[in-house]
Subunit: 410 residues, 2 copies
C-alpha cells in the first residue's frame, strides 16, 4: 500500500500551503468549491446513478437508497453547507500572549492540525462537509468513504479539487482514497507522523477497528448507547414526553436514547404511561419491569446495545447511585439524562455521570453541533481528549507556542 503513503504525503505537503492561507483566501476557495459542486451537478448525478444501480443490484433496502441518492436540490444543499462553513468565524490565529519575567514573549496561538484523515461510511454529503470543515480550519484532508458511494464521492472530490486549482490552492488539500479495499483503511491507520488526526465516522465495528489498530491519534465519534433516568420525583408527563422524543424522533441517530432507567418509587405509575405513549416501540425490560408492564425480557446484552431502532431497554433501579453506576458501566459516554424536580439529584447525577453531555429535564437528542451553537460539526466525540461532544471548527485546530526573545539563554 505504498500508494496510500504517497497519497498521504502529498496531502500533507498540501497542508503546509493551506496552513498559511489567509481567512479571505480560504473563504474565497470555499465559495469556489460550492459553485463548482453546483456546476458539476449533472456529472455527479450520473455518477451517483452508478452507485444507486449497484446498491439496487445487491438488494440494499429503500431507506439506505434514499440516503445515498443525490439530486439537484441535494447537491445545492451540499453547496449551501459549504457556504455556511465559509460564513463561520475562523478559529485560527486567535490565542493569548504573555510576557515572562525574563522578557520572553510567549504567544499561544491556534493553528491547523495539518492533515486530517476521515474514514466514513455515510452519505456522500459527508465528503463535501468534511472537505469544507478541514479547509476552513487550514487543514488538508484525506477522505476514505465507503464502497457504496465510491462513484459519487469520486465525482464530488473531482469538483472540489477543480475549485481548489482555480483558487490557486494545491488540489491535494482535498485528497481521496479511490479504493475501498479494507487494506486502504488499515494503511491509513498506520501513518503516524503523516496523518495528524484520524476520525472514524460510522458503525461500532469501524470505530472499534480504528481504535484498536491506529497509531495515529483517533477521535471516536458517534457511538451512542444513551440513557435516560426517571428519578423518583419526576413529573410523569414531562418524563414521558422526553422519553418519547429521545427514543422516537429519530431512532437511527447516535443521540437517540437506548435504555430507560426508572426509579422504583415511580415505576408503577410511569411505566404504564411509557408503554402507552411508545406504542410503536419494542420494550425490553428487566424482571421487575415485566411485573408491571408487558415487555420482552431483557438480557445482559440489551444493556450494552445501541439499537438505532424502535427498541428501548427498560430497567428499574432502587437509587440514583444504581442508575449512575449502570450508566457508567454500559454507556458509550455520549449523552445521558435525568428527569427530576430535585436540584440536588440533578447536581448529583450531572457530577457523576461520565459522559460528553449530561442532561437535566431535556431530551438527549439535543447533542448536536447546530443545537449547541457551534454552527457545524465534524462529528460527536465520545472521547475525552482534545474534543468532547459535538466537534466544531475548534476541534480541527491545535495550540502552538511562538516564543520571541532578543538573545535569551537559560
Amino acid at each position: 500500500m505504498a500508494h496510500i503513503l504517497s497519497l498521504a504525503e502529498q496531502a500533507k505537503a498540501a497542508s503546509r500551503h493551506t496552513a498559511v492561507l489567509s481567512e479571505g483566501q480560504i473563504n474565497a476557495a470555499l465559495e469556489e468549491m460550492a459553485r463548482s459542486l453546483t456546476e458539476s451537478a449533472d456529472g455527479i448525478i450520473s455518477d451517483n446513478l452508478k452507485d444507486l444501480e449497484f446498491a439496487k443490484s445487491v438488494g440494499i433496502k429503500t431507506s439506505m437508497l434514499d440516503r445515498l441518492m443525490l439530486d439537484k436540490p441535494r447537491i445545492d444543499g451540499m453547496a449551501n453547507g459549504i457556504r455556511k462553513v465559509a460564513a463561520l468565524p475562523s478559529p485560527l490565529g486567535g490565542g493569548t500572549v504573555s510576557r515572562r519575567p525574563n522578557g520572553l514573549i510567549i504567544e499561544r496561538v491556534r493553528v491547523p492540525l495539518g492533515l486530517v484523515g476521515v474514514i466514513y461510511e455515510s452519505r456522500p454529503n459527508v465528503t463535501s462537509d468534511v472537505a469544507a470543515l478541514c479547509l476552513k480550519t487550514g487543514n488538508a484532508c484525506l477522505l476514505r468513504g465507503g464502497k457504496e458511494a465510491l462513484n459519487s464521492n469520486r465525482a464530488i472530490v473531482r469538483a472540489l479539487r477543480a475549485a481548489l486549482t482555480k483558487s490557486g490552492i494545491p488540489e491535494d488539500a482535498v485528497s481521496f482514497v479511490d479504493d475501498t479495499a479494507r487494506e486502504t483503511a488499515n494503511e491509513m491507520m498506520k501513518l503516524h507522523g503523516t496523518i495528524d488526526l484520524l476520525i472514524p465516522r460510522g458503525g461500532a465495528a469501524l470505530i472499534k477497528a480504528v481504535v484498536e489498530n491506529s497509531n495515529v491519534p483517533v477521535i471516536e465519534t458517534g457511538a451512542g448507547n444513551c440513557h435516560l433516568y426517571a428519578h423518583s420525583d419526576c413529573e410523569p408527563d414531562m418524563a414521558v414526553s422526553i422519553i418519547k422524543n429521545a427514543k422516537c424522533s429519530r431512532p437511527s441517530v447516535c443521540n437517540a436514547a437506548e435504555t430507560l432507567l426508572v426509579h422504583r418509587d415511580t415505576a408503577g405509575k410511569l411505566l404504564p404511561m411509557v408503554k402507552a405513549a411508545l406504542d410503536n416501540v419494542e420494550l425490553r425490560g428487566c424482571a421487575e419491569t415485566a411485573a408491571i408492564i408487558d415487555v420482552v425480557p431483557a438480557t445482559a446484552e440489551d444493556w450494552e446495545t445501541e439499537y438505532n431502532d424502535f427498541i428501548l431497554a427498560v430497567k428499574i433501579v432502587g437509587t440514583i447511585d444504581e442508575a449512575v453506576e449502570h450508566i457508567n458501566k454500559y454507556s458509550t459516554n455520549h449523552s445521558e439524562g435525568i428527569i427530576t424536580r430535585d436540584l440536588n439529584a440533578a447536581r448529583y447525577f450531572t457530577a457523576r455521570v461520565d459522559s460528553a453531555a449530561v442532561y437535566v429535564n431535556a431530551s438527549t437528542r439535543f447533542t448536536d453541533g447546530e443545537e449547541f451553537g457551534l454552527g457545524a460539526e465534524i462529528g460527536i466525540s465520545t472521547a475525552k481528549l482534545h474534543a468532547r461532544g459535538p466537534m466544531g471548527l475548534e476541534a480541527l485546530t491545535c495550540d502552538k507556542y511562538i516564543v520571541t526573545g532578543d538573545g535569551h539563554i537559560r
Copy 2:
C-alpha cells in the same frame, strides 16, 4: 495479566470519588501526602538503598546512580513539590455557560479525565510528582515505573496511599503496578475504556512502543530532536550564545538542540565561531560544513538522532525554505528556533515550522512548564491533540457539557 485489569478497575473506581472532591479536600490531602513523605523518609531511604545496590551490582554509571539516589533533602524536595502543586490554582470547575434560543442552558465545564496511566523510566521523584498532579486535577493515577527504581517507587507510593487513607480518600486513587515485567506495560496499553489517558515518559523506544500498541489515547512526551537555524542576517555573537546554551547547558534533556542549520551566506563567519565556542562538543557536519571547519562527517542518521549528549549535527542550507523543510522532515516537533534580525524571516519561520514551540532569538531550552508559567508540568507533549508543549494541570482535565431544560424536546 488479569491482575493489571483489576488494578486499573479499582483505580478507576477511586477516580469516581476523586472527581467529586472539593478543591479544599484535594489540597488538604496533598498536604497530608507531603507530610507523609517526609515522615516516611527513613523507610524510603532504606528501600532506595536496595535499588542503589542493585544498580551498582549491574554496573550502572555514576550519573545514573545520582539520578536514582534519595536522601532527606531530596525527599523534602519531593514533599515541597507536592505543596507547590497544592498551591496552584485548580483548573477544575471553570467553564462557560450559554442560554440557547430555545431556553436550554448549556454549561461547558472543566472536569477530571478519570484514570491517568503513566509509564515512566525516570527518577523516583516522578512518582510523587505525577501522583500530586493527578490528584490536584481530581484524577486517579496508575503508575508503572522502571525496574531500577522499583523499591523506591513502592516505598513512595506506600507513603502517599497512607496519606490518602488518612484523608478519607480511597487509597487506590494512587495505584502502582508493582511488577516491571514488560507485559504489565503492554497490558496497560490495552485498557481502552478503563484508562482515560496514557502518558509514556522515557526514551524513544518506550514512546514508540506505546504509540504503536496502545488502544488507550496517548500523549507522547519528551522526544526532542530540536533544531536551531541561523539565518543569513543573524547577529553572530547572539547566534553563538544561543547555540551554546541550547546545546551545552544540559545536553541530556529533551529541549536541548541537536542540529544546527546555518544559512550559506553566514556559514563562513559563523561556523568557526561555533567551533571555537563549543570546544567540548563533537560537531558532525555536512560536506559543505566540512569545507569550512573540522568536523566528523555527518551521515543521514545524524539528522534524525536525538543525541542527548555533547554532539551537534551541522548542516548548511541555501534558503530559509530549505531550513523549514529539513526541520519538518526530521524534527520530533518539540522545539525549534531561528536566529535572525529580519521580522519577515521570523514570521515566515514561525508560521511554517510545525513544532510545539518555535523560537525567535532564544534558546530552545526554555520549553518547560515553569519557564512558560504553568507552575508544574507532567511532561512536554510533542503530540498535537489535547495538549501541545509543556503540559500543565489543564492537560489533565477535559470538557463536559451539562445541559438543563424544563422538559425540552427536539
